[in-house]
């Protein structure tokens, strides 16, 4: 059995037997390992949880953080909800689009970075908030967007 399978069994132990509660932790582990949740990965998770792939997919597609299409090696998610927008999130987003050479919702040609807009990240007083590989950068300016883009494409 794979390492992923074993890791998922450890997650299952945290919840009462016979429940499906380990599905979100399992999908997170799978995505961390494979980058995105391909049909094969969904099947692997389903097998580890003793569920059907159809059920696992129905859950995975409900949640924004799970990617059922390919994404880049890095994720840049710009909050464009009201508070961040008031601080200039749209300008930050456009700076990322310019620096990365792709539009929001797309991945750079070299497969390095996927750029997304995201709903409120819960850092409203410290906007514009950008999650870079799930870690928050606060008070991001368009200039910072250029620096972050270079950082990610170099790394």
């Amino acid at each position: 059995m794979s390492e992923l399978h074993d890791a998922i069994q450890l997650e299952r132990e945290k919840y009462p037997e016979g429940t499906r509660s380990a599905i979100l932790p399992a999908l997170r582990l799978a995505q961390e390992e494979h980058g995105w949740l391909s049909p094969d990965v969904i099947r692997e998770v389903a097998d580890a949880l003793e569920l059907t792939p159809a059920y696992v997919e129905s859950v995975a597609t409900f949640y924004d953080q799970f990617h059922t299409t390919p994404v880049g090696r890095h994720m840049v998610e710009v909050c464009t909800n009201v508070s961040c927008a008031l601080y200039g999130a749209q300008q930050v987003l456009e700076a990322f689009e310019g620096a990365l050479g792709c539009r929001a919702g797309e991945t750079t040609d070299d497969g390095a970075v996927t750029l997304l807009t995201i709903e409120c990240l819960g850092g409203c007083g410290w906007g514009t908030v950008v999650a870079v590989d799930e870690h928050y950068r606060l008070r991001v300016t368009p200039e910072d967007a250029v620096t972050i883009s270079e950082e990610l494409r170099g790394g």
Binding site: Y63, V82, G122
Partner: protein, 440 residues
């Protein structure tokens, strides 16, 4: 009410267990375990604490609804709602990050009060910062059976869904399903997680519990004003000098929250306040003329609005209210779980009409249609998501009607790109684009 910061929940901020214990941390847990559950619940009732998630339900009453194990012979669960996702609110983020042990102590005390040995903390998936702090805090407790007792505590990460802040959707999600609200009754106190008696409490509520035991219910209930006792951590953001979280006593004037030098600090760059969202984007908006109001439940209720999840968003005169409507409606459209037709279809209709209005292409009849759609969502869904979206947007129309009409009469947006909300790309708009594909 003095316009002062009053730190109880956020006091003596530390992520370190020895430092927390040195300032009296976990002493209330030890004391609570010498008390019966009923005695702790009595303390909470006396403190008049009301839930800090947004619904403002009396915490002690909620606990008292849990049946005895003789009545329902099943395990009791404590589920902590750390799925803070309301636009404008970021207080739980700061509470978990700055006082993780006070929060955890509150969870353990509450577990004892509701006769539970199983705690699940459902933390939103995006909060990797607070999550890592909580993981480290729990690691510090690994060798402390005196604190952990026989209680299991599981940190459960969400995966990006606003709706999971609704308690029954959260429970569904925690059970490994799509996060869609349940029909109530039965309420979670009777049949919640795994069809067992369950208490769902917010992060700030949990972090307040040890404070109440430390200062005493009677002292705590002297703070604030009638029906809004104690302290509240308020998130301030938007067009304001000092965006951040401030713990205050309810009853403080909203004007002071925004303008006091050591609080919001006023509106930056010589601009002037136009409107305030008082309690997260789900709440009815206030105009700049309505801010001489107490920031408390009763005072805000008189203006048909609420503290909600305490997210105060300030908007200056450059902001187009139709654009605000578009952006807020897009959020709720994106986050609607799709279960109830009025919300699923209604939020989409709201966005479509608002976009048409903003472009200057709508008629007066369509403005009426917008309000009609809002009305057809209200009171017709299992959870408040669609309803609060409708009430919020309808309040923009009610209080800034001349702006909406100007878009129709002029055939364009009078603000255009001078408004900071002009053509902001929402995720729902991004998703609507053709998939671009990813290079192999």
């Amino acid at each position: 009410m003095a316009a002062e910061v009053k730190e109880l929940v956020l006091a003596n901020a530390t992520t370190s267990l020895p430092e927390y214990e040195a300032s009296g941390g976990y002493a209330q847990l030890a004391r609570a375990r010498t008390m019966t559950p009923a005695q702790i619940t009595e303390e909470l009732l006396g403190s008049e604490l009301r839930g800090r998630g947004g619904a403002f339900f009396a915490t002690g009453r909620k606990w008292s609804f849990v049946p005895s194990k003789e009545q329902i012979p099943k395990p009791h669960y404590l589920v902590v709602n750390a799925d803070e996702s309301e636009p404008g609110s970021f207080k739980d983020n700061e509470i978990m990050s700055r006082v993780p042990h006070r929060f955890i102590e509150g969870c353990y005390i509450t577990a004892h009060a509701v006769d539970s040995t199983n705690i699940f903390i459902y933390i939103r998936g995006e909060y990797s910062g607070p999550y890592e702090i909580l993981v480290a805090a729990l690691e510090e407790l690994r060798d402390r059976p005196d604190i952990r007792g026989d209680v299991s505590l599981v940190l459960h990460r969400g995966a990006g869904a606003y709706i999971c802040g609704e308690e029954t959707a959260l429970i569904e999600s925690l059970e490994g399903k799509r996060g869609q609200p349940r029909s109530k009754p039965p309420f979670p106190a009777i049949s919640g997680l795994y069809a067992s008696p369950t208490v769902v409490n917010n992060v700030e509520t949990m972090a307040t519990v040890p404070v109440i035991l430390a200062v005493g219910a009677a002292e705590y209930a002297k703070l604030g004003v009638d029906n809004s006792r104690g302290t509240r951590v308020v998130s301030i953001s938007g067009h304001v000098v000092n965006g951040g979280n401030y713990e205050i006593e309810p009853g403080i004037l909203l004007r002071d929250l925004i303008y006091a030098e050591h609080l919001g600090g006023g509106i930056p760059d010589g601009h002037r306040l136009k409107a305030v969202i008082p309690g997260g984007s789900s709440t009815v908006i206030l105009t700049a003329d309505e801010i001489d109001v107490g920031y408390d439940f009763d005072s805000l209720a008189k203006l048909q609005t609420a503290m909600g999840s305490a997210g105060v968003v300030c908007l200056d005169e450059r902001v187009c209210m139709v654009q605000l409507g578009v952006r807020v409606s897009e959020f709720y459209e994106h986050e609607s779980c799709g279960k109830c037709t009025p919300c699923r279809e209604g939020t989409r209709w709201m966005t479509a009409i608002l976009r048409k209005l903003e472009a200057g292409d709508a008629t007066r009849g369509e403005l009426d249609l917008l309000l009609d759609v809002c009305d057809r969502i209200n009171g017709k869904c299992l959870c408040p998501l669609g309803e609060t979206a409708a009430l919020a947007v309808a309040s923009y129309v009610a209080k800034f009607r001349e702006e909406f009409v100007a878009h129709i009469d002029e055939g364009r947006c009078p603000f255009g790109d001078t408004s900071p909300l002009d053509h902001v790309l929402a995720p729902v708009a991004m998703h609507a684009r053709e998939p671009a594909g990813v290079p192999a």
